[in-house]
């Protein structure tokens, strides 16, 4: 698969890091790199799930509120102040919730035939409401160590979130490139009619993609929320916009059918590093306000690059 649209963002990422290192070498210190990876891990885990949904020709903008709800459920179940159940129960319940909501979205999109942007737009609001109702104004302050280890623990010296993220990326790559279902997701996105003729169930393929995306949002929540000792109801606000941006900048076409895991990794690293680079450039704290503008510019640049690429092909 020629890496269409990926060299661009990779170049920009390298440039940004070089610039930041030039001004403040601490940027490349292992400490800072680990911090940046820790910040990027949840986004990357969710981005792998979203990439497969978009590759199948659909979209999911409810993942932000889903993360908020997962955080609320995990906290409510495991915190001694609330139900105080054993952490393993809370983790299992959170993963089940993510998978369940994902499948619900998938059923509405592929079986009831409601456009995916409408289903997930509605769910973005419904899940946010559910999260606030569950938290009912009080934050969850004490999380058991069994849950916190997911966020702050480390495995053979590697922080758990980064280890989990690495595993998810590897699994996603294998799933996308080395399994029949993975190739069928791209086939459905590329040409749904031909896929049906080739005996592929378009509905089941899309349903599974939505389910996986929901599950990975739950995983992303479990590795990010326990890093903080307090679970508040603002978790995940704006997260869906960030993840969609990363996936698009990573070269995944919104029409479906294309996209690489490597591209998504680069897209996530690029978007996540913008904030830290701005701080290291020490342009004063007002520079932090330009972070969102830069993210918008990156999407438009990726889009123009992709369109120019496509026009070149059309002539070939």
């Amino acid at each position: 698969m020629r890496l269409r649209g990926v060299p661009g963002p990779a170049l920009v990422l390298a440039l940004l890091c070089a610039l930041a290192t030039a001004i403040n070498p601490v940027f490349l210190s292992p400490r800072n790199l680990t911090d940046m990876l820790l910040a990027a891990a949840p986004t990357l885990i969710a981005a792998c799930g979203l990439m497969l949904v978009i590759a199948s020709g659909e979209i999911d903008i409810s993942i932000g509120s889903l993360m908020g709800l997962c955080a609320a459920v995990a906290g409510t179940l495991s915190s001694p102040d609330r139900l105080g159940l054993p952490p393993s129960v809370a983790v299992a319940a959170t993963l089940a919730l993510g998978l369940g909501v994902g499948l619900f979205n998938g059923v509405l999109v592929s079986l009831v035939r409601v456009p995916s942007i409408i289903v997930t737009l509605g769910m973005l609001s419904v899940l946010k409401g559910a999260n606030e109702l569950l938290m009912s104004g009080k934050w969850i302050t004490r999380l058991p160590d069994g849950l916190r280890v997911w966020g702050t623990g480390s495995l053979l010296g590697v922080p758990v979130p980064i280890a989990v993220c690495g595993a998810v990326v590897a699994l996603a790559w294998i799933l996308a490139n080395r399994t029949a279902w993975g190739r069928r997701v791209f086939a459905v996105g590329s040409n749904a009619d031909s896929a049906r003729l080739a005996g592929i169930s378009v509905e089941r393929t899309k349903l599974a993609a939505f389910g996986l995306a929901g599950l990975l949002v739950a995983v992303a929540t479990l590795v990010s929320v326990p890093r903080l000792s307090v679970v508040d109801s603002g978790v995940g606000v704006g997260f869906e916009l960030l993840v969609v941006t990363c996936v698009v900048v990573g070269g995944v076409s919104i029409r479906g059918g294309t996209g690489t895991i490597l591209g998504v990794v680069i897209g996530v690293l690029l978007l996540s590093s913008v904030r830290t680079v701005l701080i290291f450039l020490q342009l004063g704290e007002s520079s932090l306000y330009w972070e969102r503008a830069i993210q918008g510019a990156l999407i438009l640049a990726a889009v123009m690059g992709d369109a120019a690429g496509r026009r070149k092909e059309a002539r070939a």
Binding site: N24, V26, R31, N32, D35, A39, K128, E132, M135, G137, K138, W139, T141, R142, T152, S224, R227, L228, S229, V230, D232, S233, G234, V235, V237, R275, T276, I279, F280, Q282, G284, E285, L288
Partner: protein, 341 residues
């Protein structure tokens, strides 16, 4: 044919929702404006619903409401947007409630709605944060900005080991529009002049988002090596900043203090990341606010009186048009367990 069946279903569903809506649903019974029993209705509007600081204030308010046999409505925007808060003030004014207590996230946005409500005969007061004086009768103030600013700086200096410690201090605030925080920052800068060896570094916003405060704390530590102390002056920023310092392994080297509830900070005080937490008794603040609003609505208290009998709090001083709660609390390892809000 299909449309008719659909029509019938929709009508039935709606009647169901409207008709038998539970009278005691939601956090407080709204019901019509002048409900039968002639009880007065007071609305308590926080900056952002869902933040423990305001939830604990609401508990104090409920307590006062029961004592005064007053109907209390506690609601506010979940995303803290001042526009939505203003819309709620307009709605309540239309409902003809007796009094509205407003904690404005952006006073300029809420002022027009508050003035309009007053013209409709609603008693409007501010609490926790103030608004232009022509938009409200009185301001129930936990403490003056100067008291808060001074307490924050003095506590931080004490935690850092006294006056002669040299180095840089940074501030992590809520949002740039938060009026309270900006007043406190003025007095913090003022107070810092008393400690020449300390230099104020950057003021970083965290937009009521714990993760941002966490990241800001870590970035500040990395960006400026001789950072000695951080002032996290919002109830969401403080826990985030504390966790940031703890995970950066700087607990003890970089001191952090600020404003947050004992419940939220208990873990950090216990493990030594944080030496002291500055705040006030939020329950009492809520209690006092409802007392003032109820007595204003019943005419038992006019803005010009010198003191007010506030139930279990006894007499509270009224300075200018401020009703002062007065006592700033500093929670430390020794006394934090006595407080549960």
């Amino acid at each position: 044919m299909e449309a008719k069946r659909l029509l019938a279903a929709a009508t039935a569903a709606l009647l169901l929702i409207g008709g038998c809506g539970p009278k005691e649903g939601g956090s407080a019974p709204a019901g019509g404006p002048q409900s039968a029993k002639g009880r007065i209705t007071i609305c308590l509007l926080p900056k952002q619903k869902g933040i423990p600081y305001f939830t604990s204030c609401a508990e104090g308010a409920q307590e006062a409401a029961k004592e005064l046999d007053v109907e209390l409505i506690y609601d506010g925007p979940t995303d803290g947007s001042p526009e939505k808060a203003a819309a709620m003030v307009e709605k309540w004014a239309l409902q003809g409630v007796d009094a509205i207590c407003v904690s404005p996230n952006d006073p300029n946005v809420l002022a027009p709605a508050m003035k309009a409500a007053r013209q409709k005969g609603v008693k409007v007061i501010t609490w926790d944060a103030d608004a232009p004086s022509d938009a409200r009768e009185v301001f129930v103030n936990q403490a003056t900005a100067e008291q808060i600013g001074t307490a924050l700086v003095d506590t931080l200096v004490k935690d850092m080991g006294g006056k002669d410690v040299k180095g840089e201090v940074a501030i992590i605030t809520a949002t740039a529009t938060a009026a309270n925080q900006n007043d406190w920052i003025v007095h913090i800068k003022e107070r810092l002049k008393a400690y020449p060896n300390l230099r104020l570094g950057s003021v970083v916003p965290s937009n009521e988002d714990q993760k941002l405060a966490f990241q800001a704390a870590q970035d500040l530590i990395k960006a400026s090596p001789d950072l000695k102390g951080i002032l996290a002056i919002s109830s969401t920023a403080f826990p985030g900043a504390a966790e940031g310092i703890k995970q950066a392994g700087k607990a003890g080297q970089v001191q952090v203090t600020g404003l947050s509830t004992p419940n939220d900070m208990r873990a950090y005080v216990k493990d030594g990341t944080v030496k002291s937490v500055v705040l006030w008794n939020t329950k009492d603040l809520g209690y006092l606010t409802v007392q003032v609003a109820a007595q204003l609505a019943r005419g038992a208290f006019k803005g010009t009186d010198a003191t007010i009998k506030a139930g279990r709090l006894g007499d509270k001083k009224v300075v200018g048009d401020n009703v002062l709660l007065g006592d700033i609390l500093v929670f430390t390892k020794d006394n934090i367990d006595q407080f549960h809000f």
